[in-house]
Amino acid sequence: MTSRKPILFRLMAPHIAPAILALVAAAALVPIANLAFPPDHALHVPTGTVVLVGKWLTYALLAVALDLVWGYCGILSLGHGAFFALGGYAMGMHLMREIGPRGVYGHPVLPDFMVFLDWEALPVAWWGFDVFAYAAFMALFVPGALAFVFGWLAFRSRVTGVYLSIITQAGTYALMLAFFRNELGFGGNNGLTDFKDVLGFSLQADTTRAALFALSALALAGGLLLAQAIVTSKFGLVLVAIRDAEARTRFLGWRVERFKLFVFVVSAMMAGLAGALYVPQVGIINPSEFSPANSIEAVIWVAVGGRGTLSGAALGAILVNWLESFLTGAYPEAWLFVLGFLFVVVTLFLPKGILGALRSLRGRRRAADPGKAPEKSPAGATQAAE
């Protein structure tokens, strides 16, 4: 696949097209199955399932965002959960403002926790969040801006590989500590919750939930298409070159840090969008979303599904979360054992993830397929040395 081929052809690559089709179908059919059929009908999908799978779809979008930087550019970010959480907070702030005077304390403007803390006026950071469009913009802008500043500093000074992973982790840890503070003005320990409605639609209503599900599915489809467009373009080939041999790419005259910065910012905004869709579905956002463990878990979704396959990352996120919700219900003790073994087994025996392994089995070898690159190329060694 090179950039010579028409864009539509590139986007409809064999491993992307079925995923897009499935997502669009789900976005159309699941709400119908949930709303149109009575609860005892065979085709009925319970609302609980809709919400749960909707949540997984936002996780899948986060995984695609992570795969874009890790799978195609070799940037193992252990702080992508922070972008997700920031997007979530932006949406959470809008939903808090939407509550208006219906809060427990009935204050016309201030959210409950501010009244509780005896605050007089709305902090500047909260201004404008009553407008949905502004909140939606901030859900993309804030993660993007953070990624820009962070990436600009880090990539320019050639912080790569392990070092980058560790400072991204330290960064999300610092954000978590900051958001835990009441003084920061985002609800402290408890975060933001008790949302009532979005754009006038009650968040408890089945229709709203079905609509959010459909939106999440479409957002994931959009994210997959965007990521696929990036990685199959000429730009994407440079990304892969950076992943496999950063120094060599630089010596060939490419401004490596600009490529990395661009893809890092796009990925962060994608994660922010995922977070913004996540919050109205689960009804709460709190600082534990910033915890480093969450970000690492997102990495394992990508690794399980297949690093550098995009649709594999989405698949991995859904599979791991399905396994989690099954196991924490059936065998709560076992979940961490299973997750732990999953990390070990996947890295040892399935370095290309489920999708990569399937593809190897079928013997399909494509020269430009990035899923194969890590083992053949000295990617790991280069990253360690840089």
């Binding site: 912080v159 890295t347 790991g380």
Partner: protein, 549 residues
Amino acid sequence: MAHLARTSIRLTRSVLVALTLALVLLAAPLVSTPVSAQQASTQDVETILAGFTRGQFPATLAAVDALAASGHPHAAPILQALSDRRLVFETASRRVLWQEGGQTFDALTGEPVAAPGPTTDVRVSNAVRRAVQTAMASLTLRAPNPATRIEAAVSILRARDLSQRAALAEARAEETDPNVQRAFDDTLAGLALVDPDAPEAERLAAVERLTARADAGARALLLSVPADATDAVKAAAAEGIAAIDRRLEIQGHVQNLFFGLSLGSVLLLAAIGLAITFGVMGVINMAHGEMVMIGAYATFVVQELMRAFAPGLLDLSLLVALPLAFATAGLVGIALERLVIRHLYGRPLETLLATWGVSLILQQAVRTLFGPTNREVMNPSFMSGSLELFGIALTWSRVWIIVFALAVFLALLVAMKATSFGLRMRAVVQNRRMAASMGIRTPWVDALTFGLGSGIAGVAGVALSQIDNVSPNLGQSYIIDSFLVVVFGGVGSLWGALVAALSLGVANKLVEPLAGAVLAKIVILVAVILFIQKRPRGLFALKGRAVES
């Protein structure tokens, strides 16, 4: 005879008081030594006790003061009984008795009285209670326990109780314990300063003494120099306050430095094993924190076993736990290296994921075995309490952690530089193939090196069990800090880890008073992140071709 002079202040209250006093005055010269008060005769005490039987408050008050001054061995329980309305006298014989725990004692001899006749209560007023309180304070100035005597002096000073000045001066003259002497002198100086009757010279001396004492209490006393003091005294006090402020400020800095060093030692302990596994071997061991946790749980198990089988040696359980924690964590580390990590050399990001998985498994395993709640590891006696140094209290547990961290660091340095295993280890790290050609079994060295790093993490767990909660999450709280220390110090450099840990610890504690604990931590995290942008290889970056390849 100063105490008698003081008694005379109340002399005018009643003739009866005068009578009592006269008797005591008479008695005192008979004894003729400075310790007269300790040796008042039975005769005097009898007379004093008679004061309680008059049924008049002034007489009781006088008796209280006289009894306190008499040195009667049972003065304290008698006065306490009086205050608690347990002091009575036989109506017929006027023998004074006190009741305690259902028994009755003779106030004169302290002997239990089997069958007392009908008794009358000694009446108590608030004035009497106050007098008892004061009297008890002066009694405790002569208590057998030096700590009690110091406590008494301190409480007199705190109450600015001028009425105790004379009693204190006398007690000071008889005092032999240097610590108690110092406390008494401090209190006397403080009282001299606030006493309106004290002459200027005495006040100046007091100011000088308090300035030398240089703590917050002395500063407060200097601030309370009365308005009637001469200008010289006021000027001296102001100067003294300034001097104390300077000194307190320096002390604050020193204390912060100490807290910083102690935090730095904790960071060093947590990170030093990682300096081997990550720094030297290049393995991003996310399960490092769990090795620390295993060490802490090993300490817990050893302690429980010793509690069960050798309770007398419980204080030594930490020493026993050290080698066991090293061995346990080391063996887990070797197993981890053989089973997982050796398949992943050269793929650092994959090791990161795999070891994170291992850390989840170890956490859940410990949770299943020991339960999710905190386990208590007690502090041995030599680690409790604190060390006073130049007016700064340093808790022993922190002092020991600093010493221990440095000892572990030195031991590791020796193991790396002065043993044949260390030599092989460095050879393998520098040039694996060459080392193998020289006959070094590199896989074996890898496993042992990883075991060494993990074992040291386990040893760190023993120390951290003393200051942190021993729970399955213990390791997670250290993993990010540990990585930051190693990266900040420079991967592969043990000295870098030392400098990084101590400087991060000190920096954290210096920022803390300005910004609060959480914000300080955030500031440090962000500062390290920015520093790594500036120097991506840390403080002590390795140089040379080996690094580039």
